[in-house]
Each structure stands twice: as C-alpha cells, then as structure tokens.
C-alpha cells in the first residue's frame, strides 16, 4: 500500500475578483506542489498582487475555490494564516518600533511565548544580517533592510508556505544576495515558496516551477523544465516573452528626436 500523495501547497480554481467595473482576475487556476519554489510571473497589472491578496485573505474572491496546505481558506482562514508567511509588496511595517521589537511583536501575534519569540527574533536578525541595527527604529532602516526585516517577520512562526511579493524590488545587490541565499536555504528545508518578481534571472536561478499570468488569467504553468520544453525555448525569459509578447513601446517612434537612424550602436 502506498502513502497518499500530499495535497498541493496551493490549489486554486476559477478565481474571480472584481473591483467595481474592473475585473482583476478572470477565472484564475493555480497549482503549486508542496516543497516547490514557484515563480509567479506576469507584467504589471496582470493580477499577481491581487492573487496574493486573495491567498492571504486580504480580499475574498468573488468566485472560485482555494485550498492552501489542504485547508479550505473560506472555512478556516485563521488556521491557514497560522501556517503561512507573507511578505507583501507594499511593506506596512510599524515605523516606531525597533527591529527587535517588531519581530517579537509578530511572533507574539502568531501565538509564540514571549521568550521564544524573542529568541527567534535574535536568530532571524542574525540570519538577515540586521543584528547591528536591531535596536534602531524601523523608520531609520534602508529599503533593503526593511525588506529583509519583513522576510524575517514572515518566518518567525516557521510557516510551511511563504508568499513573497516582489522581494527584490528596489534593493541593492548585497541585500538581494542575502535574500536569495535565505530563500534557497528555505527551499532546501522543504518550505514551499511563491515568489513574484520582474527579475527573470532570479526566477530562472531559483525556481523549480513557474506560472505566467496575463490579464487576470493563468496562461501557462508547470515545472520549469517542462515549460521550456513545451514552448521550445531555452530560458524562462523566452517563455515569458513568448506568452506575453513584445511590448509595443519598443516600436515607438520617438519622433521628437528626429528621424530614426538606419543602424544603431
């Protein structure tokens, strides 16, 4: 007798989300296997952040079903949240707390005892190389430091699934390196990761699975190797370009610069 297959980390079917007259998601399907590193790709406004907001319970879908880690999100939203870590694109940190206070507060909100929350905060500050700034106010942190702190906060309760919305946006190479290593370590430990990013090189390097969303619909998803094979291209970037198309702006005239030169540099 074989053991039953574990339920997927995320299984969403037919997600629809409307904001007034605007429909952000048109029946989106999403399948993320457990333990995978899933790159969620798409142009701006495609619906990535809305999908994450629905997965994290900020918005309720107008239609569709979601199961996260085998649990029905509608039936047990708090049970799901207790096993989920989230790093939103817009970081709403408490500016007037120190980094250590912030992490400890987050741990307490997840039900950790005070001493355990404090110990984990110290370890995460060390891991994200923020120990030297742990007594400073979050308001004084740089963008990269705030991003690392948000990632640390998302891990304090040892979640099984972590959703990261644009964690590499607007940060320097060093901070990006720290985050990249941290994500690889989490992946090695079997944590499922969902990452949205516009930096396709990073997705190429880290992801085991990927999905491309366009206009609120998932246009293709699967493991990275089968995606490349299906589209007959060698890179994830090429898959993305094939599915999304070349932006029209590249053909813009720039007429106010004068006539277009015959050959470029």
């Amino acid at each position: 007798m074989t053991a039953p297959l574990p339920s997927p980390a995320v299984e969403a079917r037919g997600l629809v989300k409307r904001f007034g007259d605007f429909t952000a998601l048109h029946g989106l399907d999403l399948h993320i296997p457990r333990g995978s590193f899933f790159a969620f790709l798409g142009p701006n406004g495609a619906g990535k952040s809305t999908t994450i907001a629905i997965l994290t319970g900020i918005y309720g879908p107008d239609a569709g079903d979601i199961r996260i880690l085998g649990m029905d999100v509608k039936a047990d939203p708090l049970g799901v949240k207790a096993r989920l870590g989230v790093v939103p694109e817009e970081l709403s940190l408490f500016e007037r707390l120190t980094g250590r206070q912030y992490l400890t507060f987050c741990g307490r909100m997840y039900g950790l005892e005070a001493d355990e929350a404090s110990a984990r905060a110290s370890e995460l500050l060390e891991l994200t190389e923020l120990t030297y700034k742990s007594g400073g106010l979050v308001a004084e942190y740089s963008k990269g430091m705030r991003r690392r702190l948000a990632i640390a906060a998302s891990l304090i309760h040892a979640p099984e699934l972590v959703l990261l919305d644009e964690p590499f946006e607007g940060i320097d190479v060093l901070a990006a390196g720290v985050i990249r290593e941290l994500l690889q370590e989490l992946s090695r430990r079997g944590v499922t990761l969902l990452l949205t990013t516009h930096v396709l090189e990073i997705a190429e390097r880290l992801a085991t699975h990927a999905g491309v969303i366009k206009g609120g619909k998932m246009v293709d998803q699967g493991d990275v190797a089968s995606l490349k094979a299906r589209h007959g291209v060698p890179t994830l970037e090429a898959v993305f370009e094939q599915l999304i198309g070349v932006p029209a702006a590249r053909n813009a005239a720039l007429s106010f610069y004068g006539p277009r030169p015959e050959t470029g540099p």
Binding site: Y59, R96, L97
Partner: protein, 550 residues
C-alpha cells in the same frame, strides 16, 4: 509542523495596547523614554485641572443639593464627552491602525477581533485621560454627596467608554468610506445639502431663558428648564451613563440595569456597523486611493502658459483631489449648522452683545483657513512623495516649487474662508460689512504667520503622508505643537482687537488694527522667505528621504 494556537482575546488586547505603548515611547528622532514620558505628562496635564474643576463643581453645596443641576451637569458632561470622543478621529482626519487591515492581514486574527481589540486598546491612550477627565471628576464629585455602589458604577463607566469607542469607529469608517469613493466630493456635497434640509425641519431651541438669566441672573433659571434638558440628554445613548449613575445613587437598580442594557445594545450595534463599514472599505477598492474620473482627452497641462502656471495648476489639482482636504473643508460648515441647531448664536449674542457675529463669522472663517493652510502648509512636501525627486531632477529651482505651494495654500485657505463667510451670511442672515471685512482681514493676518511657520516646519519635520488614507499619518508632537502655536499667534490680532471693543461690536479702528497686523505678517513672510529658500537647498536631501520613505 503543528501550527500553534493563536493568542486569546485578552492577550490580543494586551498585545495591541503594548504595541501602542512601545510606539508612543519610541517617539522622537532618538528614542528617549524619559522625553516620551514627559511629553505624555505635558499632553495629559489638562486632565488634572479639568477633573478637579468638575469634581469641585459637583461637590459644591448649592449644586450638590440640587437634583436638577446634578442631573443636568452629569448628563451634559456625558453628551460632550461622547461628542468629543466620537468626532476626534473624524476631525483629525486620521487613520487608526485598526483600519489598516492589510498591516495585520498576515496574522491569524479575525478582522472583527482585530477591530474590537484595537478599539479597546485606544481607551488607554493619553487623550482618553484628557477627554474623560471632566466626566470622571463630575461623577466623583456627585458621589461625594450621593454614595454610589462601586462595582456597578465602574461597570457602567466601562460600558459607557466602550460604547463611545465603538461609535467613534463608526464615524471614522463612514468618513473613510466616503473619502475612498470615486465621487467623494459629490457625496460630501449631497450629504451636506441633506443635512441642511433636515436641519431646517428641526424647530429652533427656545432660548428665551437666556434673556431672563441675562436680566435677572441665574436665580431666574427655573428648575423645569434644567430638568427638561437633563431628561432629554438622559434619553439619548450618551446620557445612559449619567442617567444610570443617578439611578444607582437613588437605589433605582432596575432603572440602572435598563440603562446598562441599553448601552450594551447600542455598543453592539456600533461595533457591527463599524465592522460592516470596515469590510466595505477594504473590499471595494484596489490598491489605489480615490480614483479621479477624467475624460481621456482632458489634460489641463496642455494649455499654453509659463511654467509657473503649470506648477500652480499641479499644486491646485493635488489639493483638490486630496480626500483629507475635502473632509477638512467640510468641517467649518458642519460646525455652523450645529451652531444654528443648538441656538448657539443666541448664547454668543447673550454673552458678547453686538460683537457676537464678528466673533462667530471671524472664528469660523479663521478655522476654515487654519485647517487647510496648517494641514497642507506645515508639511508641504508630504504628499509629493517621489514627485519631490522629479522636482529636484528638473532644471528649475526647488524654491519655485515651494513658492507655488505657498500661493496655492494661501489662495485655498482664503477661498474656503470666503465660502464660510458667504455661508454664514446666507444661513444665519446676520453679520454686516464690518464683520465680513474683519473676517477677511483676520485671514490675511493669519496666513503669512501660518505659511512662514509652515515653511520652517516642512524643512525640519518632514513626514510622508499618504493621500490614499491607507496609512496612519502623524506629525511629530513638537511639530504639531509648533503648528498650534503659529495658528494662535496668527489669530491673536483678530482676537485681541475684537476683545478690546467689548460688547459694542467692531469699529473701523478694529479693522485697521487687524489690517496692520496683516501687513506686518506679510512683511515677516517676505523677510523670512530668502532664508527658507536657502535652507531648502541645504536640507533638500533630508526632505527627499523623509517624503519618499516606504
């Protein structure tokens, strides 16, 4: 991995209260707990005086022995306390932490518990000490002569405080929902007209007793007037506490129980309405703030004209589309309507004689000018965000941007003052040429002081504001206090000149004094502007970092 059990309700309340305490203690550039505690003591010090004054009033023999006076003062204190507590977050146009569901969205806490726990946590804020002090003092003073059973009285007080907290959420969430609507200006305007219509249906309050008191002193005030007022105040939700205290003191326990249950009922109603409005707020919008419907071919910047015109137009549009500006602009008109509904003008006429309209007209117009000018001029780059970087990168002087902001803020404040004056004249059918001219002169005397102070505050206390209302925006305490001081200095010539003419009404000499102050104020503004522009060049990077922070 087995997920942990989340914190219990009381633990959540304590966590959120501790969070507020830590944030409060970390105020200032270098967190200094001693300074934070001192600041708390200074801000809450009026509580002591207010509490003591009301304690003495209710324990003073003639008042304590009069059932009518005791009931009237207690119930009136309840009404005023509730009114202040409920309108405080609306008037300050602030967004409290609880309304930022997105900030807590990751945590395993239900939105309703978050709302409830966060609302309870607000009751332990410093402002609670000041706002509740008069009522606490009055109740203790009353208990001096009319012993109260301790536990039921404490329970009644707790119910009353939670009731107020719930309805303050309702008020705040109504405003937030309206402001996030695409047509918030139309909704505010429509609501305003409906309110005007409804107000016209309410018969005016009989104020003949004021004339009697004016002629023959307080002894002319019959007990019926006080008793009727006390009973009326005790029959609306804020008065249930005062009514309940009176019942407890007289051993009418069933009546007290009914008051208590009514408070529970209205509190539950308040929380449910607040919760529904909160969910509406978070479900009806995407990530952006209020959308502005503009025809695709409409582009005001495509008009011909110098660059200065484009800058002025941008500032004006920015202000026009700012939901906080819309809310603040509505406040003086609402105050005027309340004033008429409560026959407040009669009270002023009784107290100030022929100067009453000058005080009211000037006061309301000044208030309108202050809310616009001080809110937007004292942190003038706040809403620009990354736009400030665009100004710095453009081949132009950033000083020109500041001057454009000053001109737009001054014009807006003057414009709002003019609207308030016109509204007062039409609505009250009172006030003459001298009162109108004095109001305009008062605004012109106020504006240069506000702009000058605002320019310095914008350079030394820059903070990023969020036009979408998604975040809590708070100026540093010192900056707020300096802003209040500037507004007081700016309004002082008006108050001083009008006070000097007593009950006789303003003369042309009064107008002359205020006009003189206005000339001096603008001279001060012109004299300090070069320094401000020089400092702006020096501090531009600091300002940029502050207003572009995530």
């Amino acid at each position: 991995m087995t997920p942990r059990r989340g914190p219990g309700f009381l633990e959540h309340v304590l966590l959120l209260w501790k969070l507020r305490l830590d944030i409060g203690l970390n105020q200032g550039k270098r967190p200094s707990r001693v300074l934070a505690v001192l600041s708390f003591l200074v801000t809450s010090s009026p509580a002591l005086g207010l509490g003591a004054a009301f304690y003495r009033l209710l324990s003073w023999g003639p008042v304590a022995e009069s059932a009518a006076w005791c009931a009237f003062i207690l119930n009136l204190s309840c009404f005023v306390t509730t009114a202040v507590w409920v309108t405080w977050p609306i008037l300050s146009a602030g967004v409290d932490d609880h309304s930022e569901l997105s900030r807590y969205s990751a945590f395993p806490i239900s939105p309703f518990r978050l709302l409830f726990a966060s609302t309870l946590a607000t009751l332990a804020e410093p402002r609670a000490l000041v706002i509740y002090a008069p009522l606490v003092g009055a109740t203790l003073g009353y208990a001096q002569h009319h012993p109260l059973p301790l536990l039921p009285a404490l329970l009644m007080f707790a119910l009353y405080a939670v009731h107020n907290a719930a309805w303050s959420r309702v008020g705040l969430h109504v405003v937030l929902n309206v402001l996030r609507q695409e047509k918030s200006a139309e909704i505010l305007g429509g609501g305003f007209l409906v309110m005007l219509f409804l107000a016209s249906l309410i018969p005016p309050v009989d104020t003949s007793w004021l004339t009697d008191v004016g002629n023959a002193g307080l002894q002319a005030l019959g007990p019926d007037v006080l008793l009727n007022a006390a009973v009326a105040l005790g029959r609306v939700p804020p008065g249930f506490f005062g009514d309940g205290v009176w019942a407890l003191a007289h051993g009418a326990y069933f009546a007290a129980l009914v008051d208590g249950w009514l408070m529970v009922l209205f509190t539950a109603m308040g929380f449910l309405v607040a919760y529904a409005l909160l969910l509406q707020f978070h479900s009806s919008v995407g990530r952006a703030g209020p959308r502005v419907a503009v025809a695709a071919d409409s582009n005001p910047f495509s008009r011909k004209g110098p660059r200065t015109d484009a800058m002025l137009l941008r500032e004006a549009l920015d202000l026009w589309r700012n939901p906080r500006a819309r809310l603040l602009a509505a406040v003086p008109f609402l105050l005027a309507i309340l004033l008429k509904l409560l026959s407040g003008r009669s009270l002023f006429a009784w107290a100030l004689g022929d100067s009453a309209d000058a005080w009211l007209l000037g006061g309301l117009a000044l208030y309108g000018a202050v809310v616009i000018a001080s809110t937007f001029a004292q942190n003038t780059f706040a809403y620009d965000g990354q736009g400030f970087a665009v100004f710095l990168a453009a081949p132009m002087s950033v000083g020109d941007v500041l001057k454009a902001k000053n001109r737009v803020h001054a014009a807006s404040a003057l414009g709002l003052g003019a609207l308030v004056v016109a509204f007062y004249l039409a609505y009250f059918r009172a006030g003459g040429v001298r009162e109108v001219l004095l109001a305009f002169a008062a605004i012109l005397a106020l504006l240069p002081v506000l702009l000058t102070a605002g320019n310095f505050l914008s350079l030394y206390f820059p903070v990023k504001f969020h036009a979408s209302l998604k975040r809590r925006d708070k100026l540093p305490f010192t900056a707020s206090m300096l802003g209040v001081a500037a507004a007081s200095v700016g309004a002082a010539p008006f108050a001083w000149a009008l006070r000097a003419c007593g009950r006789a009404g303003p003369g042309w000499d009064t107008l002359g004094v205020v006009c003189g102050a206005a000339v001096a104020g603008w001279a001060l503004y012109a004299a300090t502007l070069p320094t401000v522009l020089r400092l702006l060049e020096v501090r531009r990077e600091l300002v940029l970092r502050a207003v572009t922070r995530d």
